[in-house]
Symmetry: C2
Subunit: 192 residues, 2 copies
């Protein structure tokens, strides 16, 4: 049992992620190798590569989880709910996932902003998430271009809210900032 637990490394992803951020901050992103990260986490390189394709993916491992939760949330919204509300409910669901991660998210954001290749990958992940939400809305029967426009709007609220959440002077929860973002969209679109 102990062997099994050690072999399968419970919460290996979390340990690798934490070790990677610590090393990125201590030594710099370029100077940190996958071997360094695995060693710090008390795991092997092989374990690292079971969880992440490369060093850069440590920053984006959460994207797949977000996408899965987003699609699950859209699917759970009943059919008679408006497109706007379906998007709002689903984006709030993924904002909930970030609770208690503000400190790590701040470190991550500082590193992403400092490296053009990470910013590019971030834009790609955002476009992928938007495309997934568009498809989910089409599945609900939302026609184009409303599906694309509503998905783009929802993911914009998420990303713009994310940056505000990191530095929010009142330390409000991410989900509250997202809710406020949707209210702003409503206000702007109604001509305020």
């Amino acid at each position: 049992m102990m062997l099994c637990m050690s072999r399968w490394s419970p919460n290996a992803r979390g340990r690798l992620e934490r070790a990677a951020y610590d090393l990125f901050v201590e030594r710099g992103y370029e100077e940190t190798t996958v071997a360094d990260i695995a060693r710090r986490a008390g795991l092997t390189e092989r374990t690292f590569f079971r969880h992440y394709a490369d060093k850069r993916e440590v920053f984006f491992g959460g994207a797949a989880v977000l996408q899965e939760e987003l699609l699950r949330a859209v699917d759970a919204v009943s059919a008679n709910v408006s497109t706007f509300e379906a998007v709002r409910i689903s984006v709030e669901a993924i904002a909930h996932l970030m609770r208690d991660r503000r400190v790590l998210a701040r470190e991550r954001q500082r590193l992403v902003l400092a490296h053009a290749d990470l910013q590019e990958r971030e834009l790609i992940k955002r476009a992928t998430l938007t495309a997934a939400l568009t498809d989910a809305l089409k599945q609900r029967g939302v026609p184009e271009p409303a599906a694309s426009l509503a998905a783009d709007m929802g993911i914009a609220v998420f990303y713009i809210g994310f940056v505000r959440w990191l530095d929010d002077p009142a330390e409000r929860e991410f989900v509250d900032i997202v809710r406020e973002g949707f209210d702003h969209i409503k206000a702007v679109a109604s001509g305020c």
Copy 2:
């Protein structure tokens, strides 16, 4: 006078762009060199590099023009116009610039979709355009996060409309598709 015209290559950008697209279609993007493009346009490599930093930039040379026109348009909208209308008017202004370019835009889109590095550069240009519009709205006195959200929405309408315009069965003008996009945003945000 003739010498001067020849030296400064009137419409060199347009000739280089047309030559580049022709060669990309004939030989493939990878197989075409800057020297090939310059030769086909009847110009020198030096002239090419006066207009474009590298081969890839031929696809994105228009981005600076779009951004300039977008900011000029925002600046021209009177102060009492709502944020939504200011964004709509400005995005329609840049949609106008694409008139008569549908065939070239289709070729461009096919090439961009076929190359991951071009798609990445496209996402970066989109993010840059969004940031420029956000700043212009802040200059108008629009507070955050409304400025970021409205800018993101406007640029989404532009890009989603662009793809629809390329394949529009009715061959409607880009600007009409953009106008319709803003109507869809209004409808979605009001809970339809």
